[in-house]
């Protein structure tokens, strides 16, 4: 007997059996309506609650991460701000030491200059010519009537000559004095100029100090905001970190390009040193060796920058005493110089090998040998590149530091974003689960519409019957009424 025939309970057309089964199923569904509703409701509520709980956990994690991000961001900002302020103070200190340390001597010099000027001025002040005390005597003598006396005339003439000579001598003395005073005043000019220059220098220094102090004030205000954990500081430094991340990433990409060129420059000649047929894993030993040389150069560059205190990736190097640090600077610079020289030599060798390979290939295809034009230019260019690139790679340390520091902030922000999105998605799912439960309940009822309709009709009739013929009123109010009547 085939499986469908099992369900043919009524002989004849299959539709009757199908209708019968459908009716039975409906009845079954109708009687199981309440438990089914409860099952659907509890299932949807379970999903809803679980998803809401998961969303809440994610939100909590996101908040915790955001808090941690803020702490890290503000800590690194505080550190960098401290460095900036420290540098500003160092500058002020340098200015004070350079320009104002000699202030006492400067003051002394100014005082000396002023004293000299005063002395010169005093000396140059014009003195009135001496008052001729004998003028009155001359006038008295001149009033004596001569009366034709030749002796008197002679005396008077003599007096005239003496007076004239005296006047000439006085005038000469007067002019000499004037000339001397002019000389003194002329001598004052360079003193005045020198003093003006000195005062201008002092003025510039003071202005520079004022500008520095304004910068320090600004930085201090920012620093105070960081210390106060303000949101404004967080936003400001977060956007700054994002900018740093992209700029540093871009510069690192450029550096990677330089490293690739460097690699191609030395990979072929390295095969002359370590053999072209040997492999380390899937990579040619020559390629690995070239890569190692470039990585060593980058590492040396990092150490050099660290020793110069330009970057602060390795606190151990930064905290070394100055003598050791200077030694390290020279050692790393020496290694870099040697590596640069090696690269330059390798670049030369590369050119030779490439020329030999080119000649071989030409002979293999029986082509006439062609003389390269200005063959020394690429050779020298390659050698120069080989020498310069290691030093250029040294500066990778600066963007690398920025990238590492800013990537922590950027990754933290990205993680919080992902967590927030996850929480939102889970909430949407929770709502969906809740509404799906409601939908399934309604859909269940939709499947058993006929029995529900019939049940509704029956219940309606019963309700109508109860309203039309109330057999007994058992309500408390009627009981009270009966008691009152009996009393």
């Amino acid at each position: 007997m085939a499986f469908p025939e099992l369900f043919m309970v009524i002989p004849g057309p299959p539709m009757l059996s199908i209708l019968l089964w459908l009716g039975l199923l409906m009845l079954l569904f109708y009687f199981a309506r309440e438990p089914a509703h409860q099952a659907i409701r509890s299932l949807s509520r379970t999903f809803h609650s679980s998803l809401r709980l998961a969303a809440r956990s994610l939100l909590l994690a996101e908040r915790r991460l955001a808090g941690r991000n803020k702490e890290v961001l503000l800590a690194s900002s505080r550190e960098s701000m401290e460095r900036v302020i420290e540098r500003e103070f160092h500058r002020v200190d340098a200015v004070v030491k350079r320009d104002l340390a000699g202030y006492p001597s400067l003051q002394r010099a100014l005082a000396d200059q002023i004293a000299r000027l005063e002395e010169d001025y005093r000396q140059s002040s014009e003195l009135s010519p001496p008052i001729p005390t004998w003028v009155e005597a001359v006038e008295a003598v001149a009033k004596i009537p001569s009366n034709g006396d030749p002796t008197v005339s002679k005396v008077l003439e003599k007096i005239q000559v003496i007076v004239q000579n005296q006047q000439k001598a006085v005038m000469a003395e007067y002019r000499k004095n004037i000339s001397h005073r002019h000389g003194l005043l002329k001598r004052m000019i360079p003193y005045w100029r020198r003093m003006t220059d000195t005062l201008e220098d002092v003025g510039k220094t003071i202005t520079g100090l004022q500008e520095r102090s304004a910068v320090i004030d600004r930085r201090m205000a920012e620093y105070e905001e960081i210390i106060a954990n303000s949101d404004r500081a967080e936003q400001m430094y977060a956007s700054s970190a994002m900018t740093q991340f992209f700029i540093a990433g871009f510069v690192l990409l450029i550096a990677i390009g330089g490293a690739v060129i460097n690699f191609n420059l030395i990979a072929l000649p390295m095969s002359e040193m370590v053999g072209g047929g040997s492999y380390i894993g899937q990579f040619k030993t020559a390629d690995v060796a070239a890569l190692v040389i470039i990585l060593v150069e980058v590492a040396m560059g990092l150490y050099l920058m660290e020793s110069l205190r330009i970057t602060r990736l390795f606190p151990v190097i930064g905290s070394m005493d100055d003598r050791m640090r200077v030694r390290m600077i020279w050692i790393t610079f020496g290694i870099l110089l040697i590596l640069a020289s090696v690269e330059s030599a390798l670049a030369f060798m590369r050119d030779t090998i490439a020329a030999d390979l080119h000649a071989l290939r030409q002979s293999l295809v029986d082509a006439p040998a062609t003389e390269p034009v200005n063959s020394w230019i690429p050779t020298v260019g390659q050698m120069a590149l080989g020498f310069i690139l290691p030093f250029a790679l040294t500066f990778v340390a600066i963007p690398l530091e920025s990238f590492v520091q800013s990537s922590r902030v950027v990754m933290g922000r990205a993680a919080t974003g992902i967590l927030r999105s996850g929480a939102f998605f889970l909430r949407v799912l929770a709502t969906f689960a809740s509404y799906t439960g409601t939908f399934l309940i309604h859909f269940y009822d939709l499947l058993i519409v006929p029995p529900l309709w019939i049940a509704g009709l029956i219940q309606g009739r019963q309700r109508n019957g109860q309203i039309l013929s109330p057999k007994a009123d058992h309500s408390p109010r009627s009981k009270i009424k009966v008691q009152e009547e009996s009393a």
């Binding site: 072929l268 095969s271 002359e272 370590v274 053999g275 072209g276 047929g277 040997s278 492999y279 380390i280 894993g281 899937q282 990579f283 990736l313 390795f314 606190p315 030779t352 090998i353 030999d356 390979l357 071989l360 290939r361 002979s363 293999l364 295809v365 029986d366 590492v404 990537s407 922590r408």
Partner: protein
């Protein structure tokens, strides 16, 4: 700092996992068989360009051998030239120059052989390649693949050539092939069957303008 340390450690571990575990040889071994039988001797000039191409393509550390197919080819005497290229490119270039001169000399003075023992040559090639320790093994057969053994020579031997790629080059059609092409196709099929039964792979390149396919995959 911690991040840097983590990244460095990860790179080191990954490099070790990828690299240190891999000990297979990357060197290529190529053995070329040149048919010098009477009918095919005139085709040898074409072989010269193939040899030149291979010399330009093979890298330091690779192995290259050339042998002729004559009456009895399972012999070291039939090897015209063989070389393991030095790891240093400059030395390898000089080796290639000498190799080329040697092959040119042979092609100019090669004499035709009365019989064609291809199977013996292939067996010799497999032996050479296995000894060379090359990671990729290629046997190039420059022949019309018409075997003509001298009486008494036993060559009904199955090949053992796992991992060897056999490339038949310039498989010219004989006069009888022109009359009945099925003979040509049957000949190719027989050789393919023998090579693949021995564990090798089979390829035919008749267009010598596409030499880059010789050592490909």
């Amino acid at each position: 700092m911690k991040q840097l340390a983590w990244v460095a450690t990860l790179i080191a571990v990954a490099a070790c996992l990828m690299g240190c575990a891999d000990t297979t040889s990357r060197a290529r071994g190529v053995y070329m068989l040149l048919d010098t039988s009477g009918t095919y001797r005139t085709e040898l000039n074409k072989a010269q360009s193939i040899v030149n191409y291979l010399l330009g393509t093979l890298q330091p550390g690779d192995s290259f051998g050339i042998a002729r197919i004559d009456t009895g080819s399972f012999s070291e005497k039939d090897i015209i030239a063989k070389i393991n290229f030095d790891g240093r490119p400059s030395v390898a270039n000089n080796q290639k120059r000498l190799f080329k001169e040697k092959i040119n000399g042979f092609i100019d003075s090669a004499k035709g052989s009365p019989h064609t023992d291809i199977t013996g040559g292939v067996l010799q090639a497999v032996e050479y390649l296995n000894e060379s320790g090359a990671g990729q093994k290629h046997i190039l057969i420059f022949s019309d693949l018409e075997e003509d053994l001298e009486k008494g020579y036993m060559r009904d031997i199955p090949f053992r050539m796992e991992g060897v790629q056999v490339v038949a080059l310039n498989v010219t059609k004989l006069r009888s092939d022109n009359i009945d092409p099925r003979e040509y196709l049957k000949r190719l099929e027989q050789w393919r069957q023998r090579v693949e039964d021995g564990g090798g792979s089979w390829k035919v390149i008749n267009d010598l303008e596409r030499l880059e396919k010789i050592l490909a995959g």
